[in-house]
Amino acid sequence: MAAIKKSKTLRLLTAAALALPLTTIYASDEEATFQYGHYEDGARNLFNAQSGLKPIQVDSIQTSTKLKLSDRVRLAFNYTQDTWSGATPITTAPLAFGGNRQRQISANVLSGASPYLQNKNVFVDSQFNLLQQNAKTSKYTKNKQLVHTLSSASPETRKQGDLRFGYDWDEASLDVGAGTSAENDYNSSFGNVSGRLDFNQKLTSVNFGASYTASENESMLDHDAAPYIEKSTFGTKVTSLPNGVKLLTGSKQDWAGSLGLTQVLNKSALMEGSVSYTTSNGYMANPYKTMAVLFVDPTQKAGKDGQLNGSMLAFLEQRPEERQQWTENLRYVQHIDALDAALHLDYRFYHDDWGIQAHTISGDWIQPLGDGWSMTPRVRYYSQNAADFYAPYLVSKQAANKVTFDAGGNPVKTDYNPKLLPQNYSSDYRLSGYGALSGGLTVTKKFAKGLEIQAGAEYYTHAGSLKLGGGGEGNYTDFDGYLVNAALKVDLAALSTANSNHREHSQHSQHAHHHGAGVPAGVMFDHVLPNAGDVMVGYRYMYANQAGNTQNGSNTVTNSALVNQACAPQKCYVTPSEMSMNMHMLDLMFAPTDWLTLMLMPQFMDMHMTMRPLDGAPATPAMTTALGSAIIHAGRHEHTTGGLGDTGIYALFNVFKTDSQQINVSLGGTAPTGDAEIQLRDTHRQDLGFIHYGMQLGSGTWDFKPAVTYTGNIDDWSFGAQLNGTKRLESHNKAGFALGDIFQATTWGSYSWTNWLATSVRGVYTLQGSLQGAYRGTYHQIGAMDYGRNYGGRFVDVGFGINASMPNGSLQGNRLSFEWLQPVSDDVNGYQLPREGALSATWSYAF
């Protein structure tokens, strides 16, 4: 009898284990994740030259949601957003050329200058080494040291979204996905299909995939650099727009395919081998990189110190229009039984028809520490050799321009012959020979209810001397950088399981979404967690837009009024035509005791602003003045900023409660984690200084934000009201200003149509003071948005909301709500763009 029972258990276990596909065994089918990442380059070695430019930094946010539409159908949505700003190498030149120059603004202030790319009067020795002339002795000395020339960019943002459907059979799966990525100057769309076939009782799986990507590039050449770049070469499409902007266009297609085999080696090891191939054609160069070419006429007569005369010109880099890439990957995972650790070893060999071969090897040791904690140290080594067409700079033995005389004694000007230059060339350090070593540590904590948080840091160092087998690029290319990330993962399936197990003991999750059923998406601080140990995780998104004709108070004004009054006593030159803001917020709530709920709210922002020149404005000053430069720049470019915003920290208490009514008080505020000192990059060799106040990512001050909220419900109706405020706790931030204080009153009513759907109507009154103080440091007041008095006002909005909460099923406890706030009345301080509306969307899960 016992034997039969045992074999039955065994059969059940076998069936259960066999149902698990090997390669997706571990991934949860239903989860929501959020990640913030920050990457920053270290300073480059400029060999005593000064550039005064900040190295590049990148802020990224990623969210993803995976859901199961049925037993076999999966749906995943991913969204990624990167914002970057700072300096990277535009080219490489001998140190003697002096590409990096810092500009003296005043006796004590130096500013990062524009890159110096062209000089038609340089001196070289007979071996074509660039010579440096001593200013005092007039003597020439050889200096073979190379150095990157740095160039800086104002903030830019990339956004990418993709959607993926999957279908699972018992021993196979198929996924189909598509997405799109958008930047100011680069858009791409992609589609992909991938699948898996299991064999041999799922000990073996075959994986395959194919993808197609189409990209369009429309880059505005750096207007500081453009006049000094030779653009007429080799088919690169550069057109001039009427406003003088040089636009480079190109398109690119990539096809890729991969095939892999996953094999369980024994009960504690598995391995995967895969190969992939990508073929690309089209424009693959980087529009912001140039190649320095030294032209020397070898037939000329040497000077008295043996020096020859030459010209250094900059060319847009030229990469082949085709590329074939192959990679071979091996991944090995070994369980270390004694420590319950997992060792992951990956090796990748990459090669392409540009002549690059690269080896990557990495090792991760995942060590569980008990109580849900785990720690992962990691090491990675990467090495590549240089592309065939890579060179730090080129020497061309011909004159850049030559004047000869014809038979009649008339001067004849001849330019260089481009056919004497190589067909392809790039000085991008990423195509040079080098090695990169990185190491990092990740710490993960898993909470019982399916919540996981992770924090990681990795240090990265790039050096020519680290190249496998030696022979890498000189140490002028060396740099280091670091990458940090923080992630939150909610396992939705585990949550609902935990919830259903809990239901008999606690009704709070149902209560939580019952009483929250009618609260509009745009309202925060409306509820507390009722029991010690309760956790709520949420995500809030807000979009707000301003556009139309500028108002003074509640009245639309004419261009001439704007020009003459909005910037008085100066004149306005431009006016905003559209401003928009996206905010992503994480809403993390935890109740350490029954009477207190703590709330942490990190925020991530991005902002956009377009401006138009004002008719009737005074003549724009010359581009060689800072003001003129700022005005011209504003008329040509959309201004963008993005990254981490201020971080909210709150304590919430319930002060009054009956069966159908309650009053909650929230005390707390925001810490100034958002950057309030963002500056525009130098343009036309002018320091443009701080960007417009409204484009800063944070207030820059510690802000106190109290709120008191009343909520109640009768039958299917619920209602509420809230008073909240924002008091700046400092008179000015580091940049020199403080945003105005805010007072807001709001009230709403909602009706539940079913047990899962409710709609709401809300009224909002907002009063905000004007901006106090002003930037300390360079900034140019070119429009109304550059004056503190043109901020704040009195605003009335009506909100329409829809709320859905999942009463049962695997997504039980999830709440999703949307609200559109429609402006009814704008009475602005000074001169401002009217608001067009705001959208709020929230997802939350209480457990």
Binding site: L203, T213, N266, H335, H351, Y460
Partner: protein, 71 residues
């Protein structure tokens, strides 16, 4: 024989040798989260993006992604 074919041949050899049969009830260890081939997909995507912006041998996966991230 091209490098590609050699590589493929090498993988096949490797897989065909040294594999023992693992009964379904012996797969408890393999099913642990940290034994996944991709234990931290989110973090990995961030890293891949950073490496891709600093190294020539980017990509190589067929999953596909767009964008330049030309920094």
């Amino acid at each position: 024989m091209s490098r590609f074919k050699k590589g493929a041949f090498f993988f096949c050899l490797l897989f065909l040798s040294g594999c023992s049969s693992v009964s379904p009830w012996e797969r408890g260890t393999l099913a642990k989260a940290h034994m996944s081939l991709e234990p931290a997909p989110l973090q990995n995507s961030l890293r891949t993006h950073q490496y891709g912006s600093r190294e020539a041998a980017s990509g190589g996966g067929a999953a596909g992604g767009g964008g330049c991230g030309c920094y």
